[in-house]
Amino acid sequence: MKIVYSISILSMFCLIVFPMLCPAGDLTASLPEGFILQPDEVIQVKVAMAPPEPSTSGSSVDTIISSSEPLASFHPIEDSIPISQSDESIRLALANIPPPPSKVEEPVEMIADPLEPVNRAFFQFNDKFYFWILKPVASGYKAIIPEDGRVGVRNFFSNLTTPIRLVNCLLQAKFKGAGNETVRFLLNTTFGLVGFLDPAKKEFKIQKQEADFGQTLGVWGIGPAFFINWPILGPSSARDTVGYVGDLFLDPENYLIASIPINLAAKSYDQVNETSLVLGEYEDLKKAALDPYLALKDAYHQYRQNKIRGR
């Protein structure tokens, strides 16, 4: 077990690149009660004194800006007049006040970040690591191996890690997902050239069921606690780091490969291959963000939250 543990620390290479699609998650249990209004609930907001502005003009920006009354925050205000939604003129006035979160809206949550200075330092380190080491290697690799081959390698490694997803599905009582993963493994190993192809998805339309121990802990009710940005490994949280270590015990590679250097090499190869398929995503994140560190942290958190809630 000690060997597995040390492999885990060293095999950080294989885990996460920096796409916005990195996992993160949390529960909404910490939200105030009644944050999400039901449609038949009465909305309590301050009614504006200014005449209602019809929003039929082309630019809704002008409508929002030219209204003179202050816009309420997203939360209902306590000291206000209750109104029913059916009153047309008041509804038009309300057009200038932020609408209450509708049933289909998701609440906003931020993950705690007490280690921000350290996380930011590691973010800078990871940034350099990506541009100076990982990206050149992955680009060179990409130039040599055609895309189909690289997708095949990705499928192969994904097939190998089936036990992780399978066990975590069971732990989350996702029996259909567990069944899917079993069938996928059998089909892809036999008909899919030990996992290089993915006939389970292509022919039989059986989707991969993503699951990991961090997600399982989240489903069980454990919050992410706080954000940790590991060097090389990338964004994570206290809970997801525990999840990562837990999953190492489920990863067949750690049992099948006896020698540590070879295991490391395999994991590094997996990481380089994966990066070659998602080159450009990190650059896109930086391009779109005003503060890339915050963008990454928030994207990670929202992504994990979504995974735990389940779509």
Binding site: M20, L21, P39, S55, T56, S59, S60, V61, T63, I64, I65, S66, P70, L71, S73, F74, P98, P99, S102, K103, V104, E105, E106, V108, M110, E147, V151, D198, K201, K202, Q207, L277, D284, K287, A288, A289, L290, D291, L294, A295, K297, D298, A299, Q302, Y303, Q305, N306, K307, R309, R311
Partner: protein
């Protein structure tokens, strides 16, 4: 052919036709489809291909996007509680900068479209709000789920948020903007926005 056999084959034929008939999509999905089709046709248009036509192409895409995306609403939501404190001038300026930022960031992605399949997977509608769920199947066989959140404005449904794999664009920017304003000031945020937009 005996009558029962004929009858059975007719019935099965009708069933096949019935099943393959297009499902009636609701208004929000229809309007989203209109806009995406328009943008795809601009990208595919041979008359607008090449770097010489880049300006014109971008302007057309910009126009098509503006019809569907409610930048004012997105900008307001992304500024969160700091929106109330802004003057009308500042609000206008911010909306403009925000739309520039997002468009520049994603314009090149739009132009990179190369035949990804888009599956429309339902649209829960709740009064004046709707969510259009979309699944994009990339060429590397990866599924990306995208949610468009729309608000009804008159007869038009307009997008006020996009979630990619559960990551909401508005929330993501709100985290960034709120942090920056908390740590420095709104003026600093504005400066950073201007620098960023000028650079891209």
């Amino acid at each position: 052919m005996s009558l029962p056999y004929l009858f059975r084959s007719l019935v099965s034929l009708l069933l096949v036709v019935g099943v393959t008939a297009p499902v009636l999509a609701g208004e929000p999905t229809e309007q989203i489809k209109q806009t995406t089709d328009k943008i795809f046709s601009i990208v595919k248009d041979p008359a607008l291909k090449g770097s010489s036509k880049a300006q014109e192409r971008r302007r057309s895409i910009h126009k098509a996007v503006d019809e569907r995306f409610d930048w004012g609403e997105m900008a307001r939501r992304s500024l969160g509680r700091y929106w109330v404190q802004r003057t009308a001038e500042e609000k206008k300026e911010f909306v403009h900068l925000f739309s520039e930022l997002v468009e520049r960031a994603y314009m090149s992605k739009v132009e990179d479209y190369s035949g990804e399949k888009v599956q429309y997977e339902g649209e829960p509608i709740d009064g004046d709000y709707a969510v259009v769920k979309v699944n994009i199947i990339t060429q590397k066989n990866r599924d990306i789920s995208v949610d468009y959140r729309l608000q009804k404005e008159g007869n038009e449904w307009r997008v006020y948020d996009v979630s990619i794999e559960g990551v909401s664009l508005v929330n993501n920017y709100r985290t960034q903007f709120n942090s920056i304003i908390l740590q420095s000031s709104y003026e600093n945020l504005l400066t950073r926005l201007k620098v960023k937009v000028a650079r891209e």
